[in-house]
Symmetry: C2
Subunit: 432 residues, 2 copies
């Protein structure tokens, strides 16, 4: 145990962008509330900025510096808040803070995905708190319940929409029939997408969040090289229309699931979701995450996934938690990878598929196609065949099978002479 | 600070009904997981039952007693789990445990609504934890986020469906056109409603949960005499049809909201919810709660609201949290009513109304009715008039006004000679 801290709780804020500036403002505005909730006042000891020349009236009279690492190492702050973004410099700041036993609050998902295992180890070794509620799903309280509420249960799957940019783009394509490029442009105009949208549309941002969620849900380190990532760049309006005709919408999902009790599959890809599933009505920049646990069943968390104010709310919440711990001389519960599960490749996941084929419209084609599925042990759930001249459209939905069996089936379909073209293949998630 | 506990964590379970028996089983089944998460093993020291004669193979070799208070007072248990239900005896058990500094986990909403203020005070005075995640919304992690995640933000409203029985009945009435009596019977047959359904259908169960939510969200004691409660007994299929025609569904809502920054209104009543609002798709026995906060915006929590397994999951989660605190020699953060806000009467709430009138179909009626609204400062949002012989149907929806102004308006409408009958009056919640 540590000694309870007696004086004001010093907080150093590294990064004064939208979120950083709001955090400083919220601490000032809610000073009395925070003192009631913590039992001690909070004092911002300094803010690290990139450009010291700029005038920053929003920071009030808080001292400003450009040396982030020196600020993080300064013992006058018992909590260091990292909001600068990026990985390398942020890593230097956070490790400098943890090494001297300071508690750290961050919203940097890229840092956590890349170095979370090391940072949690450092936090444990130095008896420091490490909180990052703002890194995933904005102000939605999701990481704390994963760390603390399901501790008496057994989580089997985490599945959700964790990237507002891609969800906005897919919603526009679905509702307005915009093509991908037009929807992306609109997202950029509204500030929902960056000038360089790669991290979002490629699925990398969702993947970083999926790694963070998987680590907490399954008490295990995640091997990033086994995480499967597919973005939304190749989703077409035609895919969305075909999905709609079958009663589905297309969503970019982040999934982390326990497979056969022996390992975890982490995957990000577009998927078909039934129109009557709660995730299908998560629109625009909103986020929603389902957590499935043995006893609790499915629990969903829903809200704004990003934005300065919600993220700042999550960050200030973490600061209050860390400060309460310091005032009590205690620390929060460490994240321990005690389950030590393997990260399994995508092929081990059990999913359902939707396969859209153009086939020759001649006798025996359906039998040939059905045989290809059966040969890989994949059971067919629904078939819809529509003739059109000498070519027919054949849509197949499968029951659950391993992703490896399903992708082997699709590979062998491509080899069949009767199959003119594999028009679309997509995974299906969520029970109708 | 306390000394960290070194040996196994003793847990006494009072009540061996569905939830109690499952809690004992889950502790046994997840013994290794719990030890990893707590750092110490958990040992059930005893179970208090009503009828000692019954054979209870589900409890294994755990000692059984009929004296609940003696079990709760026994120092071999550092955590007492109260799952007996009822108020008086449960109060004796919980106070006996807290007075000796034992941590308490309960799922007893009636106890907490009636005595929560006193029990939290006892917990603070004796440096004991008091957790009750299972008391509201089953396994949905809701109370912990309210206690800990929004601590850097400012909650303005909590609004939700917190009673699965009434939501099941209203869903059946909406989807199947069943009348109230038939839907209630069906809920009873499926085990969603008790033989005596009064506590659920009268809104009292929802009101107890609303009081618990309000206390945590607004850091304040709630004066139960000011809580307004209306159940679903008088909701008719005709009301539901009329709502549907306007794009709404009828839900029994529990609402706790900050009014004019000076007090809290707590109210339970059926309300119209727009069909495109996320709460409208919460069906059957599910629960969902919206939390609105200044910076975080609206966050929704959704899942199964009741049932043995989900409630047991929440209870075991609380046991693990209390046990981790004991193992660390710390305690969780106390619930303090530091904001000391007043509980305001229903009249102070700001809501919208839907009013369905039968009026004489003659010139000037609309003007007369509109004048009655204006006289009370209530602004009309939508009017729909349909003539039918010498009588017309007039449906009015209002903008937001105080509930007092709205109910005074309705009272004066009843006095108007042109108004033959006030067919329906309902509050409207949730922005479309």
């Amino acid at each position: 145990m540590s000694e309870p801290q007696a004086g004001p709780i010093g907080v150093a804020v590294v990064g004064a962008g939208t979120v950083g500036a709001r955090v400083v403002q919220q601490i000032a505005e809610h000073a009395e509330d925070l003192r009631s909730r913590i039992g001690l006042p909070v004092q911002v000891t300094g803010v690290a900025v990139r450009d010291a020349g700029r005038d920053r009236p929003e920071l009030g009279d808080v001292p400003v510096t450009t040396d982030a690492v020196v600020l993080a190492a300064d013992p006058s702050a018992s909590i260091v808040v990292e909001l600068m973004g990026g990985v390398e410099q942020a890593h230097a700041v956070v490790t400098a803070a943890l090494r001297r036993g300071a508690s750290v609050v961050t919203a940097n998902k890229a840092l956590l995905a890349a170095h979370g295992v090391e940072l949690h180890r450092l936090a444990r070794e130095n008896h420091a708190d490490l909180y990052y509620e703002g890194a995933v799903a904005g102000a939605i309280p999701l990481l704390r319940p994963l760390r603390e509420s399901f501790v008496g249960d057994h989580i089997t799957k985490v599945l959700g929409i964790v990237n507002g940019t891609t969800n906005y783009i897919l919603t526009q394509m679905t509702d307005e029939g915009s093509d991908y490029a037009a929807a992306l442009k609109q997202a950029q105009d509204l500030g929902y997408a960056e000038a360089d949208p790669t991290a979002d549309v490629s699925g990398q941002d969702s993947a970083a969040k999926a790694v963070i969620l998987a680590r907490l849900a399954f008490h295990t380190d995640i091997d990033a090289s086994q995480v499967s990532v597919e973005g939304i760049e190749s989703v077409s309006v035609a895919d969305i229309e075909a999905a709609r005709a079958m009663g589905f919408v297309i969503k970019l999902l982040a999934v982390a699931e326990l497979v056969d009790g022996e390992g975890v599959v982490v995957r990000v890809h577009p998927a078909l979701v039934p129109q009557n599933h709660p995730l299908s009505s998560v629109r625009g920049p909103f986020n929603a995450v389902f957590v499935s646990a043995s006893a609790a069943g499915d629990v969903m968390f829903y809200g704004r996934g990003a934005g300065g104010a919600p993220t700042a709310s999550a960050v200030v919440g973490d600061i209050v938690t860390a400060a309460r711990n310091l005032a009590a001389g205690s620390r929060g519960f460490a994240v321990e990878p005690y389950a030590a599960l393997a990260t399994l490749p995508l092929g081990r996941a059990r999913t359902r598929y939707y396969v859209n084929l153009h086939v020759a419209d001649e006798p025996g084609v359906l039998a040939t196609v059905a045989t290809a599925f059966a040969a890989h042990g994949v059971s067919i759930s629904v078939v819809r065949q529509d003739g059109a001249g000498d070519e027919a459209s054949l849509v197949v939905r499968t029951h659950e099978a391993t992703d490896a069996a399903l992708s082997a089936t699709v590979a062998s379909l491509r080899e069949l002479p009767a199959v003119r073209n594999v028009v679309g293949v997509m995974r299906v998630e969520g029970q109708a």
